[in-house]
């Protein structure tokens, strides 16, 4: 059995700002090469925190108190800044949430796309440019020549997100962290982007951690899923298994809470308060606390 690509074990973190409140409670999950795992939870469940810890960009107010993040058997939490710099961009990359602000408004697309290629792979600008054109074609951008010459404000949100996806896959990383990449997009564009990510992931054999609050997205493209609440893993397994046979009542309520487009008159059933109370008891959160 080859060891997993990513192995998070016993990760716990607290927030200095909220007086030591727990943000992550003993998180453990694994990711194999080429696997797409969804990291699901409502706001504040801890999914973004895990992603940030993985990328080494936790805010200063968050402190890791326990655990390890093993990427190819190296604990990312113990690496120096320089070692992390070598890994980021070439072995682990990010697809950010907001395409509006993630691109430098003062630089042309070509420069931003070829950054990593020239920096980490030492490519010449000519080679990097050709590779960038090919990347743009891979994300189905028509007229890639024009796009390369353009500035971000000249392009639509959907196009910008495609460029960001292209940039994420540019160096053929082993792991891509997708941080709610479809949240800022129109619904019509969302499905295209999801399909695009899945297609690229399969073609390059890249593993993906997909952070989202939407179980529907998970159902579409994730092989496996980890469900979080208040910093604790509630459910974990293959997507088909979890959706068909959820073990925890919270999961069950979430699944039935989702809008059923095939039964438009069925209405919406929110997660019952009792479920939250049970969750809090299980996790050990005091009344009115975190």
């Amino acid at each position: 059995m080859t060891s997993p690509l990513l192995s998070i074990a016993g990760l716990s973190a607290i927030s200095d700002r909220d007086g030591g409140a727990s943000i992550l409670r003993d998180i453990s999950l694994t990711l194999e090469r080429g696997e797409v795992r969804g990291l699901v939870g409502e706001s504040g469940a801890g999914k973004s925190t895990i992603a940030k810890a993985l990328l080494g960009i936790l805010p200063r107010s968050v402190r890791i108190t326990n655990g390890s993040i093993l990427f190819e058997s190296r604990d990312l939490l113990t690496l120096s800044a320089r070692e992390l710099r070598d890994i980021m961009g070439s072995e682990i990359s990010l697809i950010p949430q907001d395409p509006q602000t993630a691109l430098n408004p003062g630089r042309r697309i070509e420069a931003q796309l070829t950054d990593g290629l020239r920096l980490q792979r030492g490519m010449s600008s000519g080679d990097a440019r050709r590779r960038a054109l090919k990347l743009l074609e891979e994300v189905h951008i028509r007229d890639p020549e024009r796009v390369l010459r353009a500035y971000p404000h000249e392009l639509s949100g959907g196009m910008r997100q495609r460029i960001l996806i292209a940039a994420a896959f540019a160096l053929e990383p082993k792991l891509v962290v997708a941080d709610e990449p479809t949240t800022a997009l129109d619904v019509t564009v969302q499905k295209q982007i999801l399909r695009l990510i899945r297609g690229l992931q399969e073609a390059h054999g890249t593993a993906v951690i997909f952070v989202t609050h939407d179980l529907g997205v998970v159902a579409q493209i994730c092989d496996s899923v980890t469900l979080l609440y208040a910093g604790k893993v509630i459910e974990d397994g293959r997507t088909s298994d979890v959706l068909a046979h959820p073990r925890h009542i919270y999961t069950k309520s979430l699944i039935s809470a989702g809008p059923r487009y095939d039964r438009p008159n069925a209405g919406l059933t929110p997660v019952p308060q009792a479920v939250f109370e049970q969750l809090r008891r299980e996790i050990g959160i005091p009344e009115g606390g975190r």
Binding site: I57, R85, M88, L94, N104, G106, D115, Q120
Partner: protein, 335 residues
């Protein structure tokens, strides 16, 4: 488009210059203090005085005087200086280059020094060095060019006499210059000894003029850089594996320069205005120094010529600033 807006601005500039000319013209003639009275010898008869007045055209009505003056200016005749008895245009032509060399040297110093401090300050974000840099900067901000000039006179001129305290070039040097741009010409013709001497004469003035601007540039640019560094695209660039230095120089700087120029461009016009007093303190033969004497002597033609020159300089600087700001903002430049 860009061309249209430039044309627009030039027209505005011309109108502004015209307004400046009118105001000064009127102001000077409404003024107490008679230039003629200042240059006559005692015992001159009223007829002589009247003749002199007519010679300088000061006996006609205000409107007529202005009209005559305007016409001659447009063909390049700025009149004759009453106190220096020479053609105003050639006087200006002699002394303006000296001041220009000073102003641009000071600008270069300010940009390099202020820029470096801003970049270092940004790299020192959230370390103990940052408040130190900010406080020092605050101190420098409080010192105007006038005070710098005098302090430098004290320290570098008297205490440790490193540099000459007056003039533009050592009077014992017999340098034949083809142009009034001594600094540039001596460099370009490889006369390094002379170049060094001129530099020595300019050092304290350039410091006095440039340090205040440097402090302002440092403060504004650092603020703009710090603002840029918290943007999402910086985070993303960092995740591509870029070092902190590269992040500041390659990613953040270009977005911080535009707002910086917008805020500090006007300060450069103050620098030009500052040459008036700084040149005086160092007895430097530029237009600033000449201006003070011109005012004290009520030398109307010279004052008018000087005000036009200063006004034109200011307007050109404002124009250049506007263009630079547009150049650095892709949204404005490329629509």
């Amino acid at each position: 488009m860009i061309a249209v807006s430039i044309l627009n601005r030039l027209i505005m500039a011309a109108i502004t210059l015209f307004g400046v000319a009118v105001i000064v013209f009127v102001l000077l003639r409404v003024v107490p203090g008679d230039p003629i009275a200042m240059m006559i010898s005692p015992g001159a008869s009223p007829a002589d005085i009247a003749a002199l007045r007519a010679h300088y055209g000061l006996d006609a009505s205000l409107a007529t005087q202005f009209w005559l003056w305007l016409k001659s200016v447009l063909i390049g005749d700025f009149g004759t200086s009453i106190s220096l008895k020479r053609d105003v245009l050639s006087l200006l032509g002699e002394r303006l280059p000296a001041t220009l060399e000073l102003a641009f040297a000071a600008l270069v110093l300010a940009v390099l020094l202020g820029g470096s401090v801003a970049i270092i300050g940004t790299l020192a974000r959230r370390t103990i060095f940052e408040p130190v840099i900010d406080s020092l900067n605050g101190l420098f901000l409080a010192v105007p060019d006038f005070v710098w000039a005098l302090a430098l006179v004290l320290v570098l001129g008297v205490l440790f006499p490193l540099f000459p305290l007056s003039g533009r070039i050592d009077p014992s040097i017999d340098a034949q210059f083809a142009t009034p741009f001594y600094l540039i010409e001596s460099l370009v013709t490889f006369r390094f000894g002379i170049f060094a001497d001129i530099c020595a004469h300019m050092v304290m003035l350039v410091l006095a003029l440039g340090l205040p601007l440097a402090a302002i540039i440092a403060r504004v640019l650092k603020a703009a850089l710090s603002e840029a560094m918290v943007q999402d695209y910086i985070l993303l660039a960092k995740l591509k594996g870029m070092s902190e230095l590269r992040l500041v120089l390659q990613e953040a700087l270009r977005n911080a320069v535009g707002p910086t120029i917008a805020l500090t461009g006007v300060q450069f016009t103050f620098l030009i205005g500052g040459t008036v007093i700084v040149e005086r303190i160092f007895a430097y033969p530029g237009i600033g120094n000449m201006a003070i004497d011109a005012v004290i002597n009520r030398d109307l033609p010279l004052i008018q010529g000087l005000v036009l020159v200063f006004g034109a300089l200011f307007i050109l600087v404002n124009l250049a600033v506007d263009l630079l700001v547009a150049a650095f903002n892709p949204r404005l430049a490329h629509g």
